[in-house]
Amino acid sequence: MRFQLTADQRALRDGVRDVVARIFGREALWNAVDRGGGLDRGWWRELGAAGFFSLRLSEAEGGVGLGVPEAVLVFEEAGRALLPGPLVATHLAAGVVPGAATGEVVVTAVGGGGLVEWLEEADVVVGEVRGAVALRSVDPLTPLHRVPGADPSAGLDDLFVLLTAAEQLGTAVRACEAAVQHARTREQFGRPVGAFQAVKHLCAELLVRVEVARAAVYAAAVTVDPVDIAAARLLADEAAVRGARDCLQVHGGMGFTWEADVHLCLKRAWVRAERGGSITESEDLLARELLIEAG
């Protein structure tokens, strides 16, 4: 048992981090916000060229031939960068929908709560979207439609939930890094606010939630067990949503402004938590498993 990243996995993560930072750094993030949420096809194709969507396809199919754990590491980096777009749906469509693997085609899908992201920008939609109604999305970088009467968890396969959890993990990491960075540098009463226990302890809990979620998400990537995935999903949602809120608190008044990144983390985390399907159902699955295991 070596439940650690292998050298290849670390290299992959670092490589993806570099690519994502190059094509979607903080400036690009804010340009996208200012553009009002349009999807940049140029860097979508760059993601495709970097193997983002074809990662799990075999080399014979033009893919990279990697597995679910590697996909999870890649989506964690996407979540850390707050990369917008229907990334999970397009990744899952690679090999099924022509052009998805290379990033020529944008694929979206009906997610939990009957939500559809990026419907107007998508070339292909997985699922039934007749009568879809546009929402005024809380997340400036995720345009949303809602399909009335849709089964709240229809079409949600486990990989969709797991890769969404990986994105949540990445966003939780970003929130933790931002909180710590602010706490180290922002001075009040003549010292960095991170020296005050009230602030330091918020940061510590941010990290604790990240590390617990990371262990759960990575383990679920190895086992691909539905109960492990449900657990990973609950903990990753918590790490991202609570993490962004605590990060906002650490930022004080600055955290409540539009110009701070924090709200982008929180809003995306909210969207993904809904997209992952009903939380109650995940909790119920985990509760029922206790009885099955106990016999």
């Binding site: 510590a204 759960a216 990575y218 206790l290």
Partner: protein, 376 residues
């Protein structure tokens, strides 16, 4: 990332399972929590059985993964926990193994492994709990002995211990972290008085220890004089790193029992109760995965657990309390009956966010040593 075990590890697991199935039915009944002589005999007896079967030093010599398998299987089989051997096997032993001289290792380690001697921990003091470096118990050098005067508190197993891993101040002038030494004190030395303390759970889990001019040979000092703080940090990293592994397995078992009780008494129909049970299942699954992660990390880095133990302890201590709060919700009015299972455990769980460094101390450690935030 790999969660599978090697053939050698699987073979170890199978052999251990078989041995446990053979010996556990012949164990005497567990003594009551307040029967200290009984507990001493029971816990030492179990250690002796482990020794005879070749498992005694699994905490020291085996690979971290093998140790993980040992803790998982013994807990699943309902085998006794380390009990009163806790300090010897998990604190003093590893510390002496890492920091002691050849003579000290030969004197103290075999009796721990053979189940002959019990150790207790003399770290905390009435005026210095989590602020360990403020301890005041002083040791004055007199020929080939230290003369020790002061008092210790929260000393688990003191009533039945043969030895105490004792922190004393050997240089009152030095900065507070610098003037401390680590001594092995025989508990039957003249001047040692043990007064049991009663916990809020009604049991006598630990004691106050008064030291009045107790002579401890200088030869019993582990590490250099005034270097006891560093030696202690070695001990504490063991405490936070590996001490709770078996308990996570136990908590998962208890959670299953609570779920079954809920189904039996109708509380299962309350979706709020079901949701809390589901969340706790996620929690303990994740804590088990974090354990596997930390063990793998320790294996890669050569053994001594890192500060990641603080991350684990923060979350685990809270989860354990939530576990027994859910048990109480499932039990309803029975949660007020001390005769019912889980009620004493619920009371005991209150110590988890305090013992072995409070959650507040752990958050400081995480904030300062992992995240690099400035000291307050």
């Amino acid at each position: 990332m790999d969660l599978s075990y090697t053939p050698a590890e699987e073979e170890f697991r199978a052999r251990l399972r078989e041995w446990l199935a053979k010996v556990l039915p012949s164990l005497p009944p567990k003594p009551s929590p307040d029967d200290w002589p009984g507990r001493r005999a029971y816990d030492l007896g179990w250690q002796r059985m482990l020794y005879d079967a070749g498992y005694a030093d699994v905490h020291w010599d085996a690979s971290p993964t093998t140790r993980l398998i040992f803790l998982e299987e013994t807990e699943k089989a309902g085998a006794p926990y380390v009990g009163a051997n806790f300090v010897g096997l998990l604190h003093a032993g590893p510390t002496i193994a890492a920091e002691g001289s050849a003579g000290q290792r030969a004197r103290w380690l075999p009796p721990i492994l053979r189940g002959e001697e019990i150790w207790c921990q003399g770290f905390s003091e009435p005026e210095a709990g989590s602020d360990l470096a403020s301890l005041r118990t002083r040791a004055r050098r007199d020929g080939d002995a230290y003369v020790v005067t002061g008092s210790k508190i929260w000393t688990s197993h003191a009533e039945v211990a043969d030895w105490c891993e004792l922190l004393v101040r050997t240089d009152a002038q030095a900065p507070k972290h610098r003037g401390i030494s680590w001594l092995a004190m025989p508990m039957d030395a003249p001047g040692v008085t043990v007064r049991p303390l009663r916990t809020l759970a009604g049991s006598t889990e630990f004691a106050e220890v008064f030291l009045d001019e107790v002579r401890v040979p200088v030869a019993n000092r582990v590490g250099e004089e005034n270097d006891g703080w560093r030696v202690t940090m070695v001990t504490l990293s063991f405490e936070r790193g590996t001490a709770f592994v078996g308990e996570v397995v136990a908590c998962r078992r208890v959670l299953g029992e609570i779920a079954r009780e809920a189904r039996a008494n109708g509380r299962w129909d309350d979706s709020g109760v079901r949701r809390r049970l589901g969340r706790l299942n996620a929690e303990f699954r994740a804590l088990w995965r974090l354990t596997q992660w930390n063990v793998s990390e320790g294996e890669a880095s050569g053994g001594v657990p890192g500060v990641g133990g603080s991350v684990f302890k923060l979350r685990y201590s809270r989860a354990r309390q939530e576990l027994y709060d859910v048990a109480a919700e499932v039990l309803g009015a029975d949660a007020l009956d001390l005769e019912r299972g889980w009620v004493l455990d619920r009371l005991s769980s209150l110590s988890y966010t305090i013992a072995a460094g409070t959650s507040e101390i752990q958050r400081n450690i995480v904030g300062e040593r992992i995240l690099g935030l400035p000291k307050g």
